[in-house]
């Protein structure tokens, strides 16, 4: 297997990919992870009275909300409301000053970032943070490696475990690249991909870790309206495959269309929670967000 794949650098054999054309997601590909199919219904993730202080600043102030299994939850709020900070607490980048985050009933506690990823929370970044000097395929492979345990010894001896994990990872990676419409660009360096492909590659990389909960931090930032609509359709397809999605997005119209429920933050506090239609008519939200600046997107 290693001979025919581009997992390496200077000397690794390269998979010959056809000339890249326009990237078209092939959403007919089944990217479901088996364990996802029978997830128990109910609260997948609970943010329970979380406060986070940076010195004198309260970035999050007693925020509580939950995400149900199988839904798309929108997290919205004006700039600086604490949306990304909330993501950072949920993925272990910051430890909350008080309060707790529970994932499937289990408090995250002092788990490290990579351990939380293994539990089943994966994320993308507001400003793209791919491994720029690695190929698209390798980026996704790193994500797939999250559940692999090949170490130095099995890699050096090319033990069956290495071979099995390597081929499993490659299958998964190609599946995801195809799903995201990036399979023709598998061997291109991440930094050389067009902007939209980079955003999609980030989602593919996150999905490769087999998450139960996928957190997308403004995945449509910098997209034109048509691209945004297509991305939202893609996100809905991802949900339909069994994943639970948490979505930060500025574009109100999109959030209304795609999410099942919405949580609104302002100045680190939750000011509203409910169905999109309820949020739309909520006076506090309109005052904080919609009313103040119509073009907040």
């Amino acid at each position: 297997m290693p001979e025919s794949t581009s997992t390496g650098g200077a000397t690794g054999a390269q998979v010959v990919a056809p000339e890249p054309t326009e990237s078209v997601p092939d959403t007919s590909v089944d990217i479901t992870v088996e364990e996802l199919v029978d997830l128990p219904r109910g609260k997948m993730l609970e943010v329970d009275d979380v406060t986070l202080r940076f010195g004198g600043v309260k970035a999050l102030d007693g925020v509580s909300f939950h995400i149900n299994t199988g839904e798309i939850l929108g997290l919205i709020g004006p700039n600086g409301a604490g949306k990304t900070t909330c993501f950072n607490v949920m993925t272990g980048v910051y430890q909350p000053t008080s309060g707790a985050v529970r994932f499937m009933g289990d408090p995250l506690g002092k788990r490290q970032k990579f351990q939380i990823t293994k539990l089943g929370i994966a994320r993308t970044f507001q400003n793209i943070r791919l491994f720029h000097n690695m190929t698209a395929l390798e980026n996704v492979l790193v994500g797939a490696d999250a559940h692999h345990s090949t170490g130095m010894v099995s890699a050096l001896l090319r033990l069956p475990k290495h071979r099995a994990e390597e081929s499993e990872g490659l299958d998964r990676a190609f599946e995801l690249l195809k799903f995201m419409g990036l399979d023709r660009r598998a061997n291109e360096l991440a930094r050389n991909l067009p902007y939209g492909d980079q955003r999609r590659l980030e989602i593919a990389r996150a999905l490769a870790t087999n998450p139960k909960l996928l957190c997308l931090d403004e995945p449509a930032a910098g997209f034109n309206p048509a691209e945004k609509v297509r991305l939202m359709e893609l996100i809905q397809t991802i949900r339909d495959q069994g994943y639970t999605v948490l979505l930060i997005e500025h574009d109100m119209k999109l959030v209304m269309g795609v999410t099942d429920r919405i949580v609104v933050l302002e100045f680190g506090k939750k000011i509203a929670e409910g169905l999109p239609s309820e949020i739309q008519d909520n006076p506090a939200v309109i005052a904080a967000y919609l009313g103040v600046d119509e073009d907040a997107s």
Binding site: P2, V93, F114, A122, F131, M134, V142, L156, E166
Partner: protein, 375 residues
């Protein structure tokens, strides 16, 4: 400069596109040629002012150092400015176990040296790999100096006198290999000057060269196996973006420590080979300037490309010996060459293919953008 490496890359490409048997035959031929270099004494390459066999041994030994440091700097992106420390630990472990405080045979000393350096790598890395970038560079710089100062001041380790009578590898005397002598372009066999296969002695460096070259080839293969696996990917992801890697499930600290320990073990192995070849070591062999030279080898070769760093290590070792007749001026020229390289070819002689591809793509984009701007 860039044409040199494009040519090299093209040679590599053409080699890769050959059918398998041809590839194998060519590779065997090339390796054989490298083994026979000190026997053939090719006129333009051979060094007239110093023993060519000894120079080749140094080339191979430093190539090993460069491969080890390339794992730390090139793959994992950890700037280690104290690599000589590991080299010294390896050399002195052999000295202590084989001569100063024991009579262990060399074949046991070498794995012991690797184990000890690996442990020292973990001991240094465990607290320091939590800091990043510049801080790590400073801490490792300190480590290299601390090792040297400990060696100078510890009587148990021979202090500044060092350790002598370090054992050689076991010899098996099978046959003699006569050298070639060149008279212009005509070669003849010099029967009076032969290398015994395989007799390790102070007078003939060539068997040491063969031993080291064999180890280099084995380590290169292991390096390839490692890079093309989860381990290699984790290292590169950590180098590219440590936080993102961690959030994608890579236990970055563990992998950084692994890179450090692996690099250290290879450094210790080269130190052990150095000790047995010299038979005598003292702390002056392990000054800070070598750490700088090692980093130079990796940077000049192209961080992350194993063939590049091997080439650079051999070149940077061979050139000062070849141009010994220039006496001190060669160091000036050497420094100027390094500066020229830093200015005109910052990515190194033979950067990893991906860096080349990325650079080409960047240039294309730049041209496109400029075109738009001028329109």
């Amino acid at each position: 400069m860039s044409t040199v490496s494009t040519t090299l890359h093209r040679v590599g490409d053409r080699f890769r596109s050959l059918p398998r048997p041809a590839k194998l035959a060519l590779a065997v031929l090339a390796v054989l040629l490298v083994y026979l270099l000190p026997i053939i004494n090719p006129p333009l390459i051979t060094t007239t002012d110093s023993d060519f066999g000894a120079v080749l041994f140094s080339c191979a030994m430093y190539a090993l150092v460069a491969i080890g440091l390339n794992i730390v700097i090139g793959y994992a992106g950890l700037l280690d400015l104290g690599y000589i420390g590991f080299f010294a630990v390896g050399a002195f472990t052999v000295g202590v176990l084989g001569s100063q405080h024991g009579k262990l045979p060399l074949l046991l000393c070498i794995p012991a040296a690797m184990a000890v350096t690996m442990v020292s790598g973990v001991l240094l890395g465990a607290p320091t790999l939590r800091v990043r970038g510049d801080y790590l560079a400073i801490v490792t710089l300190g480590f290299g100096e601390i090792i040297r100062l400990v060696l100078v001041n510890t009587n148990w380790l021979g202090a500044s006198r060092g350790i002598s009578n370090i054992p050689s590898p076991p010899s098996i005397d099978l046959f003699g290999v006569p050298h070639l002598v060149w008279n212009g372009a005509v070669a003849s066999i010099d029967l009076g000057n032969e290398t015994r296969f395989l007799q390790f002695s102070v007078t003939d460096s060539i068997p040491f060269y063969w031993l080291t070259l064999t180890i280099v080839l084995v380590v290169l293969f292991l390096d390839w196996l490692m890079q093309n696996s989860r381990v290699g990917r984790a290292w590169e992801a950590t180098r590219e973006d440590e936080d993102a890697a961690e959030l994608m499930g890579v236990p970055t600290f563990r992998f950084k420590l692994l890179a450090f320990a692996t690099g250290a073990a290879i450094g210790g192995l080269s130190g052990a080979l150095f000790a047995t070849k010299q038979a005598f070591i003292n702390p002056d062999n392990f000054t800070i300037i070598y750490s700088v030279l090692f980093v130079a080898m990796v940077v000049v070769g192209g961080q992350g490309n194993r063939w590049g760093v091997v080439l650079a290590a051999a070149l940077l070792t061979w050139a000062p010996e070849k141009f010994r007749f220039l006496s001190d001026a060669r160091f000036l020229l050497f420094g100027m060459a390094l500066m020229a390289l830093a200015i005109f070819r910052p990515q190194g002689l033979l950067p990893p293919r991906r860096t080349v591809r990325a650079k080409q793509a960047d240039e294309e984009t730049e041209v496109l953008e400029e075109g738009v701007a001028h329109a």
